[in-house]
Symmetry: C2
Subunit: 353 residues, 2 copies
Amino acid sequence: MAQQHREMTGTDTAGALLAAHLNAQATEFLRSLRLHRESTTDAQGAEESLEAARALRRAARRIGATLHTFRPLLDPEWASSLRPELAWLSGTLAQEHAYATRLDRLLESLHRLSGQPTVPVPAVGNRAAGRHGWAQPPVQSTETETSAPRGLTVGAAKAAALLERQLTLAKTRAHSTALQAFGSSRFHAVADNVAVLASEVPLTSTSEDLKPLAAQAESDLTEAVSALPLGQAGHPYNAGALVHGLASDTAPDAQDAPWLKVRSLLRLHRYAEEVLLGHATLEPRIADASHALNVHREAAAAAAAAAQAARTPRIAPATAYALGVLHADQRHEVEAARFAFQQAWLHEAVSTR
Amino acid sequence: MAQQHREMTGTDTAGALLAAHLNAQATEFLRSLRLHRESTTDAQGAEESLEAARALRRAARRIGATLHTFRPLLDPEWASSLRPELAWLSGTLAQEHAYATRLDRLLESLHRLSGQPTVPVPAVGNRAAGRHGWAQPPVQSTETETSAPRGLTVGAAKAAALLERQLTLAKTRAHSTALQAFGSSRFHAVADNVAVLASEVPLTSTSEDLKPLAAQAESDLTEAVSALPLGQAGHPYNAGALVHGLASDTAPDAQDAPWLKVRSLLRLHRYAEEVLLGHATLEPRIADASHALNVHREAAAAAAAAAQAARTPRIAPATAYALGVLHADQRHEVEAARFAFQQAWLHEAVSTR
């Protein structure tokens, strides 16, 4: 069927390229979904399950981005209804992994701040598997509390235990939510729609050129980047990211928003390029810029988690102090990520001139 | 008498230069001491008193450094006994000012971290005068506590009040210690020795050249700089200064020691250059490097003060959290100062090649 479709639009490069890309991504989506179902029924399949979920999210993001960027070629109603559903799906699936990554990042930072380069491997084996896997939901073991303090000062150890408790709970909830999502009729509707894409892409116009649409995605990105305070970001140790470190909660969010927006637009640009080029090779500079914005997002979320944990009632002052140091450390990672982005972006702008 | 001495050694450049410099600095020392005595008896003389104390310390540092660097030309026993006494004097006089600067730095940082660029001027006028002046010892007023919270969150305000209380107490003690020092027989012995220098420099050898001795001071500096981790420091956001942010107390001290040593040696080098050139003009790069090392020292001391305040028993978690953020912020200023030093130093090395 996909083959037939490609033959039908064989002479039309724009439509064919778009359809081929959506076919391929939809096929990848369905393959990952099947793998994921198989691995979750297998008790040893934690790693495969994780990998399948990642591939599923990756395909969902690419389909959603393609529906958005090249919407003039597609059935508008169908595309605009599917896209938020794909975003919901990949967002829901991302949560558990995000909490696990955040906890890893915070524990690593606590150990680094204590002069210990690496997080000691916990004595209990179920933590690592429980953190990364899908098949084995994490057990809220009392072991996690006793494993954290090793080699840390009292405050850092208590902060580690508190963060581990809070983020493990959040991760467990995200795991349940993801499992519920997989069983929901909403998910089945998304999967059905993607199955359609794997065979027949609902093109409305096949004559429109893809390049101006991809160029639009790029110019949206460029415009958003030009709104960033890159001058400040390029000056090392500007202390900009911690300016609201002791202000109300919403202040860093407002400061981070333009960077998160650029991160989304950079993804749209990358995925549009993939459609045009037919493969996923990435310019090193774009890869660096993407990486910096991913670190920005993770560090900002980790800093917020540390600040949130510090508002837990009845914690010891030593714990709160460690969380304060941790928060500031992560906000400095945010600042460092902005610097890295500025360096990567400037590098690109200079070399393409 | 000084004039006579200069005539006696007029043909001998090395001895004459050294004697002229020590004469001038000793005269400045005695002038500052007289000014300081006059201003402390005058209730309105806080600013003059402060300026006089600064000039006194400046002269004491230069005399001490000159005695050290050019010791082969001087009566060794006399020079080696006077130098630690000058260090004691300038150290004692520096304390009150150092506590005031530290408090200013920490309060400014707390306001910056709360998204407020400047520290609001307190309603009570005695704080500013009390902080900077010598003539008016600071009053531990309850006003200082109520003036701090303005515009800050609860944690930041409590941290500000705690730091203000602790550092004001330390400053008051330093003030008393300095006053006691001025009245001590130990101080009078130093002043008597400096008075000798103002008229007759006890030269033992007048034939020795000053340049190799100044060159030795420079090579000591270069050697100490080469022991610094400049490679790391030149990489922005290396997070090196906070590596022991949550470890035991002594860890940052060990990390900071080589930088403080370079700061001392850079001073010796600068003062030796002043003797050779006969004036105090400073290469911009050396000025930048000196400034960076001064910031390094102040930020490290401020970070330690924040960590120390966080160990106060029975403080609120919000206070401890704010102090943790503050500590990390100041350690990042330490890291930024290392970066600034590396930039200044590298700049110099490249341009003098």
